[in-house]
Symmetry: D2
Subunit: 364 residues, 4 copies
């Protein structure tokens, strides 16, 4: 019986429990977990800030593991069979139904009402469906992706949920060669969005955030310049960005902060007829004030929300890590590895901002 | 010396004055005004709510007139010469420089800092450059458009600024065949956006606004159903729109209200992964509160600002009026014609919402 | 045992056979067929011009019928249950796998290598999976769509495959208000594309094709003008289209002919920087010559292929028929109804161009 | 009186002549030429393969020089004044009228019928308007661009016309992170398109062309792999590209060959639902055969023509050279510098493919 770190309910401490081993259905896969991660979302889960979470749950939505057993032939996206011993990651979103209006008419499976997410909306009652566990069961139809040459398990988890989400955000930003880009926030999404903007042809990337140590990581991953939150007002940060962009503001700003107050600031630092991508408001952190005449209408702006990451973003993440991983060095964002018995500490460290990325190593 | 209605400054009453006749430069055109209009913007100009207005000015940005004289050969967009006696309208925006970064690098001439607008940012000192006047001088380079067969001067001014702006808004909305559309507001922009949405293939058009008389006009111009502002809460209006759209909300919502509070309501009535076009926040009416997690990020929404109308929108406006004018009947929006001596009354009528469209007939 | 018209192989005459009644799986549906149709594709199937067809087959990919039995609860796209007695149509494409690279990474399920099409790539060995039959079995997962108010079975089949394909083609054309549009071809796709272009805001629609009777149908369905193939050269047709479009050519041309030679002609009649949509080359009719400098590069043209029709196009087809069916009158395209014993005659009539749309009425 | 190399007519040898010094109008600029280049187009001009060329002309459309004199204040795109002594380049296209239908309604100034191009459609009679000359006169309104820090005159001309055109082609390609890209051709456009595809996020770039020396340059500038034209059939090249792309073909192919026969080959090597950009058919090299069913319709392909390069592409070219010039090394493409007296030899060297880029140094 595999051991797993279980979040029993909002506010309760994480407990390590033994959970029943799953029965492998045809098309299913059993993984021995190599790494999972602590995402900012997990902190929110701990505080009960998401609706519809079926506590008790095993958190950990992006993970990597060894294939221990498969239920017959299971294929990767290129149609090649998955074999025992392969190191794989998988798309955390499952059961987008392909039958509902969002899946089939709107072409927006990320808004399918039937979708389930490993480690978030699957609970202990649904099976071994979270990454903070010695083993993970991939149900039939889960999008499994073998790691390509040049990507080991540690590099994959260093990218993790933040990198997949950032690929989605950068897709929405439609960056063209030479665009001047600001990224608000330097958590895992912001730190990935900055080098991805450069990979997409940006002529300048400014990262706005803090604390100072994270800004240093941002620069080491390719950001041209950084603007600290500490000791600056929103007014000053907007002025600083305008100074760096011929007085006009950025062509593209990507929001990855989690703070509603960032929205008005980001809209103001974007140039007229530019694009503003909202990726960081993943959980409910309340309301904010905007000035629609100045910030949207007169600016002739495009504002684009980004919800989650699709299977294609996960597949492309492995390609980005293979091609650019050595140069960009996502591993810099890893603060520490935690065992299953240390998950309360891991959550506390992430919440306090003491580390960017907490990696979970359930099998030691 | 032509007579013109002059707005001398914020808050001051309109005065009728004689202004010097212009000298016609090569490429310039002198018009005898047939009609101009009172736009909502003119009410804002009266109260000094726009920055950079060079009072005293002659208001009236969209107008139609007879060609009295041309400075040599002047051509329409198809390269045909403009002749004395032609009935023409013209693009109110001028002097987009084609040299600055917005014009030439960003491809956003509507945000050119050098642009000037007839009746708004041209003043009496600049010449005879507003429509509330017996004559209008079109400077060289102004985009002049002869009225096509089937469009007389009254029909053109019935469309007016609101129709050109609505074409721009509907372009930004990218409506596909069968889309469910809501239009917030039933002033000139909203009343034009509703039939244009249908012309673009909408499967349903809901107009939200008031008073009741305007909603009746909206239905007569093609809106499938209307939702009154009077006696309903924002919550109830959102619920009503959801009821009409299989519970999901609209594919597209076009905001044309002028009220910041409409933004949050409109975002909520739009379906996940839909489009929200902000066209009505043309002047500074202050701030509003939004909930970025619920309204933008989780919805995976596109929000698109719309600033002004381009020459192409004016050209296409004349085509729309020629093809669909009989059926849609923009003339329904005209409340009354005013002479130059009645412009204070006209402004008061528009501000009080007593009429949708006040037409100005400077030559009687 | 239901009777069905079976195409036993290329060149062989159609035979009526009794086929075994299907066993209804959970999620499956049994239909009593009201109508199916003879599509141009069926003529090609008869001649063996498609690869990978598992003869013997029951042709008929778009059909409409009564629900006789369901395998438990089956839902429409809005999540409402399908009931016995409902009149429904269904998406002919099935088994897009949602697991392969095209489905999940490229977002192009219309190019999924696992897709199967009712009446084309499903054969008699696969079950009762074609419309020229007294009964049709909808396998679990087939996209079923109840007919909305205002659409009876005859109207649905009058639209049929051609209308769904035309919606896809018009989506790809991105028609804006006022665009000048040419449609090459006046078979079922072209005759539907013409009114759809108008519904999408076109300022002018020209249909090019023949014979004269079909052009008359095109005009009755809304085409502004028609250009006959008979008695004109390609050069003359291009010149005629340019005359109708201020000498520039069309903003958008939609090809729906099935003839490779139409490609060069269509590219030439489209204006510089316009869009050319290739929808009519559904089967292999060979090669053609183009001039890439004059037709694509110097024109700065967009050329867009269109393959098939998706579930969303079928859903939206029912909406178009409900809203615009009375006015546009797709029923005009129906030439005659054929019983199962008359399918050889039906194929001959369609191949000879004697009728536009041959409707199949298997039960009477 | 400045000396210039004059092409007197098709087929005639280049002659060096003294031409009258221009009078500097307000807004005009006189340059002392540092470098111009020999573009493939100049070879075509020599053979009379372009229509509407007003021989005698001074060739050389992309050039760089010192500002010797300005006609009053002239500004760069950011609004800063151009000063005597500045090293500048300029957009070769001039007199896009901003009044015609293409400029103002279609938003396609690259198809403006009034546009003139330095060194191509301006002749000796129009003034000192070509780069193979000791001095160049920039007429008022020409888009002048100072070289930014990090870009000297040699680097700018190493990029030259090919780089600006390649930026336009890559814009049209809409490359996303991870896309697999093929570039057909390794002249100046192809050699620039390859590294630009990588800068835009491509996961793989394959260059197809020859001779071997150029493919080596392509690899040194970042191409992952190359496929030689020499000794391979079209069939083999398509197979090779498919092998490199999981059997599917490329997401994006950019054609930059000048050879009509490349079109069919390129369409076949592009995956279903991919994008094919046609940039290399700048002059009339005749017709080719395509198979519309297999290559466009069934593939659901997007084919996009690219005509010329805009002012924005020139501005962005200077930014690309500043940021990435050291790493990519466009200077590798320069074969040799030629004086004005050596232009017949320069044309012969380019035509024979002996060098990629021939640089012209009129002042020594």
């Amino acid at each position: 019986m595999p051991r797993a770190a279980v979040m029993t309910g909002p506010g309760a401490p994480i407990e390590v429990r033994e959970l029943p081993a799953p029965e492998i259905e045809p098309g299913g896969i059993l993984l021995e977990t190599i790494y999972s991660e602590v995402c900012g979302t997990d902190v929110h889960l701990r505080h009960g800030r998401l609706a519809g979470v079926p506590y008790p749950i095993v958190p950990g939505h992006v993970s990597v593991g060894w294939v221990v057993e498969t239920g017959g032939r299971v294929e990767d996206p290129d149609g090649r069979p998955i074999a025992v011993g392969d190191v794989v990651t998988f798309h955390d979103v499952h059961e987008t139904c392909q039958r509902c209006w969002f899946c089939r008419v709107a072409g927006a499976p990320n808004r399918c009402p039937h979708r389930k997410v490993y480690g978030i909306t699957y609970g202990v009652r649904d099976g071994l469906l979270g990454g903070w566990s010695e083993a993970i069961y991939l149900k039939p139809g889960v999008g499994v992706i073998p790691l390509p040459d040049g990507v080991d398990a540690r590099r994959l988890i260093a990218g993790g949920c933040g990198l997949a989400t950032a690929i989605h955000a950068v897709d929405r930003a439609e960056i063209r060669i030479g665009d001047l880009v600001a990224v608000q926030g330097c958590g895992p999404v912001g730190l990935s969005a900055a080098p991805l903007a450069l990979l997409s042809g940006a002529g300048l990337v400014i990262v706005i955030g803090g604390p100072a140590g994270r800004l240093e990581v941002a620069r080491s991953m390719g950001a041209d310049t950084t603007v600290p939150l500490d000791g600056t007002s929103a007014e000053e940060r907007v002025a600083r960005v305008r100074d760096l962009t011929a007085g006009r503001g950025t062509d593209v700003t990507i929001e990855a902060t989690g703070s509603p107050a960032a929205i008005g600031e980001g809209l103001r630092m974007t140039r007229d007829a530019g694009r503003y991508v909202v990726a960081g408001q993943y959980t409910d952190a309340g309301e904010t004030t905007i000035h629609p005449h100045e910030m949207i209408n007169r600016k002739h702006l495009d504002v684009r929300g980004v919800w989650g990451a699709g299977y294609d973003h996960f597949v492309r993440m492995t390609g980005v890590l293979a091609r650019h991983g050595d140069r960009i060095g996502w591993e810099r964002t890893i603060g520490r590895e935690y065992g299953l018995d240390e998950m309360n500490e891991a959550l506390a460290d992430v919440e306090a901002g003491r580390i960017v990325k907490a990696v979970v190593a359930p099998n030691g």
